[in-house]
């Protein structure tokens, strides 16, 4: 009897078809992709295949065998690696196997790492950063010599980040060491599954398989409605008014996860829920990524053992291990994307065959439409793509130094390997040489005598010879790049979490703020730490976190347009549209309700000035770019200064004089031509790129954040990313890292491809212009948005003087 059959019999379980299919494929020496949601037995599908392959080669004897590392299992999360370790170790224990499994993450001690090197386990469960660290240690090729399997767990998650690029590069090296390596990815369903598979497997894709779980989990979405839609707020992102309606759901469930979109919202909901349902105190918790590891772990442990009634959380709980006690999920506000919504819904009802039920709480009346839009998208399998990073030179530079720190590399061979990855498929030899030059000569094109020292070229091999540089590089691998964060600690030293330095710097000692579900009084700030004590005061400021303002995804925007079109054609087959009818009727009465082939533009005047609204339904990032382009183009005809506002449905140009719409239409200012040029001219692209540059400079090793606990020692080599950005702009315009910053802005911040598609679509639409007398249901949410950008053709110098003038007047 095979190992798998034996174990399943012991457990009295029956393997699923997809598990059997995976075992079969691995037995046939294939690589592949397993498309499977969490909590479906995906670990066992791969694990028994791997064990099977191992014992086919080395039939089990009594004496433990040491055959070196056999399998590498990569996960994006430490919590997940722990879960996989326990599950796989249990198998070895149940069946009395000599197959040893170990963990290697940022938490693994140096002693333990040394032990793993001396006597390697059969399988290592690890993270992308830890693999880079192994590649930075001497004779890593021996360590990997017997490697037969690599599993990349949650590949869909890694792929959309630079950690995915780290994985691609590591795989290219490991494939070179071990051409027979078998690669397996595990991925939730995304729009571009095939591409995900191709990127991961590379040249092994041709002969590889895709295995899909046969467990279709049904998702039921129920929207929570205000009693009278007409009286529900037209604006807002908080949704507190519907709070009384979710208390019964929490009470009727074992454990409820309440997902919100941003951390400040989580803090507020937590406070308000406690006020409204004091009996839940002690059974309710808060979970977001600014809280300390300890606190989050406490919440996760209590979710595991089912002792919590509700947890208010952000995307921090999107991923990760399953909590069996969770039977209800509530989404507050727009979920922004379909895949994300499904993932959240899937956090309930884990046992195979169970339903996943999720409640959707709209935070303003128009948002109700997202309930039916999401349902439509899920039914029609419209899932978002994960956009992989390409040409991430910062990661390549980091990787080159990594190899130079261990055994060194030769340029020709590395070029071939790197070019084989998806990320660097288009890299030219010149660009590759530039990267080498950057680490060897520091980009010194003048070749004058220079003391630059990092990577040294000798005997055809690029190596790091300086121990300090090697050590500093190892420490900087896996530095998490984020805004400058400050620890929040009690006076006694107990950690509560991290808050943006920016927020703390606005507080004075004695001020009270809400954090981690508590009222805290700031006592003092010292060495990047904010010391606090508990406060009895009831009012406090909630830190506003950046990063929560995700745009509505392309697929979800499409579905929303489809819902509106359905309504217009009287195809009202869901509750959401029925509930929304009064609001949509009003929109149609005071202005117009656009159908699929129409673009609505509204113009009206208020005390503030002349408002021009365009409803493209493309998500806020695209709207930001569109608004800037339109403002720029209008400015070409006539000087104008605009204040710009947008939400996920449309954008607004506000000006002190009237924009002549006929002029806009006659001059074809919404034309899809020259989008790329115009957006770079219209947005303050330098400022945007400067912000992006922080990540890039850190990954490429320009910014060193210091040795843990010894910040002072490295003070002399610290400089801000802005400083590097400035000197590169001044002296090295062709620096690839600088160019990368602009490319990332276009691809990820402005979503240039999507923007182009939107302009293309608009050029085929009929444009409807209305002049309503007062704000409409569509325009009102944008009108009152206080976060505004400004567009103007003025030079930076005159902008400064304007600011100065306004400051001096006050």
């Amino acid at each position: 009897m095979g190992i798998a059959a034996k174990w399943f019999k012991q457990k009295k379980w029956k393997p699923f078809a997809f598990q059997k299919a995976t075992w079969q494929a691995i037995d046939e020496n294939k690589s592949g992709l397993l498309n499977s949601p969490t909590g479906s037995g995906k670990t066992y599908a791969l694990w028994f295949g791997i064990l099977g392959a191992y014992y086919k080669k080395y039939p089990q004897k009594k004496k433990p065998k040491e055959n070196g590392l056999h399998c590498l299992w990569i996960t994006p999360l430490r919590a997940l690696s722990k879960e996989i370790l326990l599950a796989t170790q249990q198998v070895s224990k149940d069946l009395d196997l000599n197959y040893k499994i170990a963990l290697r993450t940022g938490d693994t001690t140096t002693a333990e790492r040394a032990r793993q090197r001396k006597k390697s386990p059969h399988a290592l469960i690890t993270t992308p950063e830890s693999i880079q660290l192994i590649l930075a240690s001497k004779e890593y090729d021996k360590f990997f010599a017997g490697l037969e399997f690599i599993v990349v767990d949650e590949w869909h998650e890694l792929m959309g980040s630079k950690r995915g690029v780290q994985v691609e590069l590591a795989l290219s090296r490991l494939k070179a060491i071990n051409p027979a390596l078998k690669i397996w990815g595990i991925s939730a369903t995304i729009g571009n599954m095939e591409e995900a598979k191709e990127i991961l497997l590379g040249d092994k894709n041709e002969d590889a398989v895709t295995i899909k779980t046969d467990l279709e989990k049904e998702i039921i979405i129920e929207t929570i409605y205000p009693d009278v839609v007409e009286k529900y707020s037209w604006v807002g992102h908080l949704g507190i008014k519907l709070l009384p309606k979710i208390i019964p759901i929490i009470e009727a469930s074992n454990t409820t996860l309440v997902f919100v979109n941003v951390r400040s919202q989580a803090e507020i909901w937590y406070q308000k829920l406690l006020e409204a349902a004091p009996h839940l105190a002690g059974q309710m918790a808060l979970h977001h990524c600014s809280l300390s590891d300890d606190i989050r772990k406490w919440v996760e442990d209590n979710l595991h053992n089912g002792s919590l009634k509700a947890v208010i959380c952000t995307s921090s709980l999107d991923l990760g291990v399953d909590f069996h006690s969770v039977d209800s999920v509530i989404q507050i506000g727009s979920p922004k994307g379909i895949a994300r919504f499904m993932q959240r819904a899937g956090r309930s009802g884990h046992h195979p065959g169970a339903l996943s039920k999720i409640w959707f709480v709209p935070t303003n009346s128009l948002e109700i439409i997202e309930g039916s839009a999401i349902r439509y998208a899920i039914e029609n399998n419209l899932l978002e793509n994960r956009v992989p990073y390409v040409r991430s030179f910062d990661v390549l530079i980091q990787y080159m130094v990594t190899l130079a720190v261990s055994d060194g590399f030769t340029a020709d061979k590395l070029f071939e390997e790197v070019k084989g990855t998806h990320c660097f498929k288009s890299i030219s030899r010149e660009e590759f040489n530039w990267c080498i030059d950057f680490i060897v000569t520091g980009g010194n094109s003048l070749k004058v005598y220079d003391e630059y020292h990092k990577v040294v070229f000798a005997d055809g091999i690029y190596k790091v010879t300086n121990r300090t540089i090697a050590m500093r590089h190892r420490l900087s691998i896996g530095t998490i790049v984020s805004d400058s964060m400050m620890h929040v600690k009690f006076m006694g030293g107990k950690k509560i979490g991290m808050v943006e330095e920016n927020f703390i710097s606005k507080l004075k000692p004695g001020d009270v703020f809400w954090f981690g579900g508590r009222n805290l009084e700031l006592v003092l700030v010292k060495d990047m730490e904010a010391r606090v004590k508990a406060s009895k005061k009831n009012t406090g400021i909630v830190p506003a976190w950046l990063g929560g303002r995700l745009p509505l995804s392309y697929q979800l925007s499409n579905s929303i347009r489809k819902q509106l079109d359905d309504y217009k054609r009287n195809k009202i087959d869901n509750e959401e549209l029925k509930q929304l009818a009064p609001l949509l009727k009003l929109q149609n009465k005071v202005s117009y309700l656009p159908g699929k082939n129409e673009l609505l533009i509204e113009q009206f005047k208020t005390r503030e000035g002349y408002h021009l609204f365009v409803y493209a339904f493309e998500g806020r990032f695209v709207h930001e770019g569109m608004a800037a382009i339109l403002a720029y183009r209008i400015g070409l005809l006539e000087p104008f200064t605009f204040s710009i506002a947008m939400n996920d449905y449309g954008f607004e140009l506000l000006s002190d004089k009237k924009v002549d719409i006929d002029l806009v239409l006659d001059n074809n200012l919404l034309s899809p031509d020259f989008i790329y040029d115009d957006v770079l001219k219209s947005m303050n692209s330098i400022e945007l790129a400067n912000r992006k540059f922080r990540d890039i400079a850190t990954i490429a090793g320009l910014i060193f954040t210091g040795y843990p606990g010894h910040q002072k020692k490295t003070r002399h080599i610290q400089a801000s990313s802005q400083l590097f950005f400035k000197v590169f702009e001044d002296y090295e315009k062709d620096n690839l890292l600088l160019r990368q910053a602009y490319d990332e802005i276009l691809d990820f911040q402005l979503e240039i491809t999507r923007m182009q598609n939107a302009f293309d679509r608009i050029s085929k639409q009929k444009i409807i212009v209305t002049y309503p007398e007062k704000p409409t249901p569509f325009s009102f949410p944008i009108l009152v948005d206080t976060l505004r950008e400004k567009f103007s053709n003025e030079e930076i110098q005159s902008r400064i003087e304007k600011i100065l003038n306004s400051v001096q007047k006050t």
Binding site: F438, I439, G442, G443, N444, L446, V448, Y449, D450, E451, Y452, H453, K454, V455, N466, T468, I469, R472, S643, G701, L702, F704, H716, I717, A719, S720, L723, F724, V727, F728, D730, Y731, E732, L787, R788, E789, K790, Q797, R799, I800, K802, I803, L804, S806, V807, Q808
Partner: protein, 214 residues
């Protein structure tokens, strides 16, 4: 460009605040600068951090411009002249000094000035901890005293201004609170320490080509 300075009067003496982030005392024909952090580019590069080779060119140009325009008799440097350990950029500074033999240079030691004493032995360079005059006292760190006006550096003062439509900008500044007069960092490769605005203090903002009182 030369005349775009802000003129102020302190205890009867005229003082010009220059947009090159320097201060000029016409009565003594003396230039005062602080926190140059020379050698930073090379120091970074030696540590394997690829700051462009030419990064310090602006500082050199600015010094030449000031010396040639104002033709000072003496130049007072309020510390942090050199960023860190010795490197070849010191040789460049040395030759600059020798190029202006008519100028007396005085360096007030800062916490970054950690070179061997040997290196400071240049004919027209003096080194001191403080410089005390009747009404003024010059130092690197701001001093805690009330008797005289203390010209100092070290802080790299800056101000963040907020305009309409969520615009903001950070600018270096001269800062004066009645006893301490803090100079902005002269070096281009330096950061800013943002000050909170106080009612009883003066802030002179350094723009590209002029100095403006806030």
């Amino acid at each position: 460009m030369k005349y775009n300075y802000a003129k102020i009067e302190l205890l009867g003496e005229d003082i010009y605040l220059l947009p090159q982030k320097a201060l000029y005392r016409p009565h003594f024909k003396q230039l005062v600068i602080s926190d140059l952090h020379l050698g930073k580019t090379t120091y970074f590069r030696k540590q394997g951090i690829a700051m462009p080779v030419e990064s310090h060119v602006k500082d050199i140009d600015k010094l030449h411009f000031l010396f040639d325009t104002w033709k000072p008799l003496s130049v007072l440097i309020l510390g942090d002249l050199f960023h860190s350990d010795y490197n070849k950029e010191w040789l460049w500074f040395r030759s600059l000094l020798l190029h202006y033999p008519q100028i007396q240079f005085i360096l007030i030691e800062g916490n970054h000035d950690i070179l061997n004493e040997e290196n400071y032995k240049i004919a027209n360079l003096l080194k001191a901890e403080y410089l005390v005059e009747d009404t003024f006292i010059f130092s690197h760190h701001p001093l805690d005293q009330k008797n005289k006006i203390n010209f100092c550096g070290h802080v790299h003062p800056g101000i963040k201004l907020f305009g309409k439509a969520r615009q903001s900008i950070k600018l270096p500044c001269f800062y004066f609170n009645g006893t301490q007069f803090i100079l902005p960092a002269f070096g281009e490769l330096t950061g800013l320490y943002l000050l909170d605005r106080k009612e009883d203090s003066d802030y002179y903002l350094v723009l590209a080509d002029k100095v403006v009182k806030l």
